[in-house]
Each structure stands twice: as structure tokens, then as C-alpha cells.
Symmetry: C2
């Protein structure tokens, strides 16, 4: 039986853009598991009530629901140990948790400040007031103000990716010789701006851009084929 | 036969302070290997000529010399696979490389700007001109100017440790349930300011400070007992 994946969608149900949902999408593909996706929009709280909380991604595997992208990666490795490992065992998982924390704490907040206004345009009209209000409260300014001056600020964001760039000089994937969840953490996060905005985050000749293209090409080009804004 | 470790020392040969040498010191202790240390000072180029380059740490194991702290960790896991793993296998090593790159690229440059002037005082008089000249050229200002205003700047440096702090909320060590090379990368780096300066980098109640104290307590309190400035 296929695993059900609830994932954040825009007005177009095929436009999936959450960085956390993309991590899970890529993780499920890495495991080679059958997936049925259920698009979920910001204000559809009832649809997730069964999971006991209100955020995606959520997966349902048989009778078991799991939420939180990191917990899902751990669940998949534990439940399907004979399929390719996502986290690389105990030490691999412990070290990958750092990459997860760095991506969540450094990379994602930077992306938000570059494209958060653009997100509004891909949402259903009925989700837009919730999105604007909640995010403007968090930022303490309008979405337009948050995004202002991004052409200059993107340079600093690119610089903050230096640790990943250093790693990719020494090995082809963050996972080493083969891609693993470390790659999906960061590449999944980069799918977010790619799917909601035409603003160029990575320069074409950046090693990060070349690696990101390679991740998008995995699993039959699953991420490459995803709808972009 | 013991492994010989060449490590950076100050005027007092017992004052070992290089962040990279501390990583190797802790790695050798983790492996439970016998070590004979050879103090090396900045301008003693002849003493390292055998290794084909001019930087410590260098280890000599039988006939084999290895330099660069990361390469030494890889060597120790490959040469002593039956002893506790440092890097945690292929995925563990691939992910740890990110922690290494982040520490080298984010944590260490920040530390340098907080204590570089203090280093001068622990060096032999004959090494001080080399140190001052080479570092002032790199920074484009005097060591005193680099260190200026550190009381205010340390706050930002502490904030940059957020990813490690997040990880340590979820697990006791960067290595997971047990310490491993991921811990030695970062803790070894924190031994550097600890050994050369009385300037307080971490606040006492910071989870990072508590974890750092736990690392110093490993291996019979090896790092705790190290001479501090």
C-alpha cells in the first residue's frame, strides 16, 4: 500500500513548495517507496486534525501517521532498513542533524527574506490573508518591506552557503559518494524559492547551483519537472 | 609503538593551543592510542620538513606521516577500524565534513577576531614577529585593532553557534548518544581561545558551555587539565 504524503500546495494543487515537504518528497523517492500525495493549503486545519497537529509534511504509512520532516526521515530508515539509507546510521544521523539545524537556522531565514512576498502570489486567495497577517506579525513589517533590497542582500546569503560549498569541493554530494538525506535537506530547501519565485538565488556558475541541478535530476528528474512560478 | 604527534606550542612547550592540534589530540585519545607529543613553534620550519609541508598537526605512525587534522581523522579510522569510530563510517564522515567546514569557515574566523592579539603573549619572543606580521597582513590592520570592541562583537559570535545549540537540545553530543569526531572538531576549536586568553567566549549558562565542559572532562579530563593562559 502506498504511503500518503500531505504536502503544502498553492492555488495550483500541483505547485508544492514547502522546503520541509520537498525534503520528505526526495526522501521517499530515495527509499523507492510508492507515494500518494494529498495537497494541503495553509488554512485547511481540519484536513490534518487526525495527525494531532497542524503542519505538513505528514505521512501516513498503514495505520501510522508521522509528522515533521526530520522525524519522517528517521521513521523511514527505521521502518525500511533494507532500502537505501537516508541518514547513514547512528553517527550519520547525528551529524546530519547539524546540517538540518544549520539549514533551518541559517539558510531558510535568509531565503524567506528574499522571496516571502512572492509566495503570496502562488497561494489560493482564501489563504493569502492568513499568510500575510501571520508573516507580517513575525517579521514586524510588511512582506513588501521584508523583500526590499534583495538584489543586494542575496550576495550575503550566497556567502553564508560557504560551508556547503567547501564540502562539495571535496565530495560530489553532501552525503559523500552518493546523495542522501543531507542533500535533500538543503536541496529541498532550495526548491522553496525555485517554486515560488523567479528571483535568482544562486549564480549560474556557483558549485552550489551545479550540485542543486544534479539533485533535481535524481529520481527521473522529479524535482526538475516540478512546476516553478 | 606510540604515534608521534607534532603540535603547535607556545613559549611554554606544554601550552598547546592550535584548534586543529586539539582535534587530533582528542581523536587520538578517542582511539585509545599511545601518543608521544613533540611541541613545534611557528618558525621551526626544519622540524617539519620531513612531512613535506609546514603545518601542524602532523602524526607519524610507524613509517607513515600524515598531516591535516581531517586527513588524520580519516587515517585513524582506516588504520584502526576495531577501535571506536571517529567519523561514523562513510555517511558519518561525509556529514561530519560539513561540521568541519562550518567550524573552519564560521566559528574559527570569529574566534580569531576575538583573541588574536592575546595569542601573541603566549608565543616565544622569536616567534612573535612572524605571527604579528603574517596575521596583520592577513587582516589588513594591527592585531590590537582586530581585537578591539570584542565585548560587543562576542554576542554575534555566540549567536552564530545556534546550529550546534539546536543539535545539543536533541542529543547529548554532536556525535549523537556518544561523543565522536564531530564533538572534537568544535570543542578542539574552543580549546584555542581557552588556552590563549582569559576573555570569556561562552556564557556560563549556555548549553554550549555545558557541552564544552563535558568534552573537556573526557579521557580523564585531558582537555580540562590543559594549561590555560
Amino acid at each position: 500500500m502506498a504511503i500518503t504524503l500531505y504536502e503544502l500546495a498553492g492555488a495550483d494543487p500541483a505547485l508544492v513548495f514547502s522546503p520541509y515537504c520537498w525534503r520528505t518528497r526526495l526522501a521517499l523517492a530515495h527509499k523507492g517507496l510508492d507515494v500518494e500525495t494529498v495537497p494541503w493549503c495553509f488554512t485547511e486545519t481540519d484536513k490534518l486534525a487526525f495527525s494531532g497537529q497542524g503542519k505538513v509534511p505528514v505521512i501516513v504509512d498503514g495505520a501510522k501517521a508521522t509528522h515533521d520532516s526530520w522525524a519522517i526521515a528517521e521513521y523511514l530508515d527505521a521502518a525500511y532498513p533494507d532500502r537505501p539509507s537516508l541518514l547513514g546510521g547512528q553517527a550519520g544521523a547525528a551529524h546530519a542533524r547539524f546540517i538540518n539545524a544549520w539549514t533551518d537556522g541559517v539558510v531558510l531565514p535568509g531565503i524567506a527574506r528574499l522571496v516571502v512576498r512572492d509566495i503570496l502570489d502562488v497561494l489560493r486567495p482564501q489563504d493569502q490573508p492568513y499568510f500575510r497577517t501571520s508573516r507580517e506579525r513575525a517579521f514586524g513589517m510588511t512582506l513588501e518591506q521584508v523583500q526590499e533590497g534583495r538584489e543586494a542582500r542575496v550576495v550575503e546569503w550566497r556567502r553564508a552557503l560557504a560551508p556547503a560549498r567547501t564540502v562539495l569541493k571535496a565530495q560530489p554530494w553532501l552525503g559523500g559518494a552518493v546523495p542522501d538525506y543531507a542533500d535533500y535537506i538543503l536541496a529541498g530547501s532550495l526548491m522553496w524559492p525555485r517554486c515560488v519565485s523567479r528571483f535568482q538565488l544562486l549564480e549560474d556558475d556557483d558549485a552550489m547551483a551545479l550540485w542543486f541541478a544534479r539533485v533535481r535530476g535524481l529520481f527521473g528528474g522529479m524535482a526538475e519537472a516540478a512546476r516553478t512560478a
